[in-house]
Each structure stands twice: as C-alpha cells, then as structure tokens.
C-alpha cells in the first residue's frame, strides 16, 4: 500500500567495447506519482487498493483495517475550504450522496442541511467521515481516512462547513 512512488528502469546501459566483457549499469530514476486532490486519480496508483482481478496483486488485497479515531476538538477547520472538498467530484464528493448546507445534492445519504443544529458530538461526526465502518460495516460511504482520500485537516474543514449550517 505504501508504494506511492514508481520506480522506472530508465535505461539499461550496456557498455560493450570490442574485446571487453560488457558491463551492465542499471539506473533507477524515481518519479513520484501523486494524486493531486481535485484532479483525476492516477489509474496506476489505484493498484495500491483492492481491485477485481485474478492475476494482479491488487486482486488479492483486502479492505484496509478499520480505524477508530477519538477526536476531542477543537475543530479548527476552514468552512470555505470544506465546501470545496465536499463539492469536488475528484476530492471528497460528498455532494454525490448528500444534500449540502449550501447546495443541492444526492439523496442517498441523509441531508446535511442544518447539520449544526443537530448538535452531533464532534467525535461522532469525525469518526463517520474518517471511517464509517466503525459504526456500520455495511455503509454505502467511502472509507475516507484509512485510504487517504481525506487528510485530518480535510475532515476538520468539511466538519467546519457542515457544522456552520444551523
């Protein structure tokens, strides 16, 4: 799971001179392939997660371990950035399933309009976003934290955004 860099065999230089035994030099060039949130997830990097195949290594991978995180605040989140994360198809994409405080969205998950007024504990909300499987293993929601789809700060920002909706 941690192979976030791609090793590329750039060249195999065979230095063969007349009458001499050839020497082989292998040069490794490290070209980090990184997902930039907000952009398409590089297909190559998806091999780091379980896939549906019988021969590729990812076909034998399991779901990541469930992560329980106890969050005690303070929130310290940026609601404006949180809205960007929540509405971006190539980032958090919360809008796909949830109606958001400031935008219409999908109807699969509960609406998040007026979320702040519900006075849900911070720890509960953080855990639901980070790894919902702690509460419901069968939830139809991405596993944001363990798979590094959102960082700790990203989760705080999204929380600041939805808690701001009274």
């Amino acid at each position: 799971m941690s192979h976030l860099t791609k090793l590329r065999y750039l060249s195999m230089l065979t230095l063969a001179t007349a009458g001499a035994v050839g020497t082989v030099a292998v040069s490794f060039a490290e070209e980090p392939l990184k997902w930039v949130p907000g952009e398409v997830y590089p297909a190559e990097l998806l091999k780091n997660f379980p896939c549906l195949d019988y021969t590729l290594a990812c076909g034998k991978m399991k779901s990541p371990p469930v992560e329980r995180i106890e969050f005690s605040g303070p929130l310290e989140g940026d609601a404006v950035r949180g809205e960007k994360i929540a509405t971006n198809l190539r980032w958090g994409n919360c809008i796909a399933c949830h109606v958001l405080p400031t935008q219409d969205g999908g109807t699969i998950g509960p609406t998040l309009k007026g979320y702040g007024a519900r006075e849900m504990p911070l720890d509960y909300t953080y855990q639901r976003i980070w790894d919902i499987r702690f509460y419901n293993p069968n939830a139809h929601m991405p596993v944001y934290g363990p798979n590094k789809a959102l960082t700790d700060q990203d989760v705080r920002d999204v929380m600041a955004y939805i808690y701001s909706s009274k």
Partner: protein, 316 residues
Amino acid sequence: MSVSRKFKLHSCGVLLALATGSASAADAYPKYDFMPGKELAIPHVSGDEKFSNTYRYWKDEEAIAAAKKAGKTSAETNYKDFRWAQKSFDAEGALEIGKQYFNQKNAAGKSCASCHGQDGEKLRGIYANYPAYSKKLKRVVTVGTQIKHCASERLGLDWADDSRPNVLADFYIASLSDGKVINIDATRPGPIKQAYERGRDLFFKRAGHFNFACASCHTPPTVGKRLRSQRPTTFFGDAASYPIYHFPYALAGDDYEYVFTLQHQIKSCHLLSRIYPGAEGSPAMTDIEVFLKASANGYKMSIPGSEYNMDTDYLD
C-alpha cells in the same frame, strides 16, 4: 493535534466475522471485504424482488406502461422504465458501421459474413446466450473475446476486445438478438455456474480508493435515489440493453461511436468509483459479465438502446 487515539480494528473484524458467520468459504474473508446481499442474488431478472422489490413495475412492456399510467415516478420503479423500454434511433449509425466491419473483407476476400451469413443470419439469437463456455479456449468468453479469436484465426485480423472494429461488430451482432429472451444457465453445475458465482462475489467485493463494491451503487438503499445527477439502479435486467448507445459520454480515447459494451461499462464504472480498471475480456471481467447477464435471465434483449435519453421525468 487533538486526534488523541487511533486504533486498528481489523483483526477484531476478522474474529467477529468468524464468530457470527457460517462455515462457507466466503466467510473466510473479513466481513469488511464484502457488501451484504450476495446470498440473495439469483440468476433471474425476478431476483430484483429481494433487492429493490420493483420488478412488478418493469417486468415487461405492459407493466411499465401500467406503472406510468398509475403515476409511478422513474425513481419509484428503480429507474427501469426508460432504458430497456425505449429504442435509440441515434444508434442506427453505429449499427451501420458495425455491419460494415462484419462484412469487411480481408486480403483473401473473407469476412465474418463468409461463415455467418450476409446478414449474420447464423448469429441470430446467440447474444442472449453469451457469455458462454468456449471448448476451444477452455474458458467462459464474452462475444467480444469470441470475435477477437475468430477474427485472428480465420481472418488474420487483430481485433482486440476493446478495439473499434470489435466493439462495433459486437453491437451489430447483439442487434441480431433483439427481442430474444436471455438465458444463461447458471444453475446447472459447470463452468458457467462457477463463473456466475465468482462474478457475483466480485460484484459484492469492496475495492478501490473509496472501498466501494459494484453493489455500493447498485443495491438498495442507493438504487432509486439520486447519485448526484445519476440514477443508480439494481443489477437486474440491465444487461439486456448492452452493448448500449452511450452518447454523449465516453472515456478518453474511445473511438466506438459512443457504443459501450458491458465490458466497457464495467471498466467505466471502475474508473468512476476509483477502482483499478480490469482489462476488457479478462477472466475476472468476464465473470462479472456472466453475473450481470444471468441477472437478466428471462428478460428480452433490447438493442439498440440508449443509456441517456431526453426523458427527464425522474427529476419530478
């Protein structure tokens, strides 16, 4: 940093699964690796009763007409009211190109039509029984894989599963089975039943960056709801409309006149849900197609259909 503690509970999950599950092989996996419901799937279109329970609204043309007349919305009928029931006139051009590939002669003057008939008459109806076991290739194959091998062996043509000639010829061949009732025998012990079961397990297996399974979108409670602007539906019956005319959406680099085979659709779904896309025609992808096609058993093929149409009733 106020994230005070972090626990990993995976091994706990394994124990839970072992403690609560039965002794079947699938339970050797932690419960976190599968979406629930695979034990409810049956190889027939009516299996939807155990999922969205809307089958009675779309089991045939009359049922769909009656549901509409009764004021059922598209969402209430699991979004099955338009795709299968409506033919696409826009797809005729792509079908025509597919027919040209079917009749395209190689250097020796041979074409698919040389063996299968000028209008493909010997292939009428076959699409309703594919994927099928190929004795020659010793595995279950899609029509696309069959075309690839036939073109290579008999015509000396390189028509890969995801190449333009293959996909469009595939579309044309599928149209020769329009109206034929799908029958994939996934109940008799044999390679098809095994492929169905493997495909079913893959369909419910969680994968990718988001840890989604195909079932995350295509089983309740997601079906019948709005997934952003999309209309997720159960996995029953839809294979009857594939290959499908997918205008205006295509993957980067596609040159299939907006035709999506079922293989291409599965690949597209993978990419959209951040799962490493399988190779079209690969054994795993073929197994998923067997599962989907068998989940349309008893339903009539409907080709050419359209993935998107101008019917916006679902917005109501």
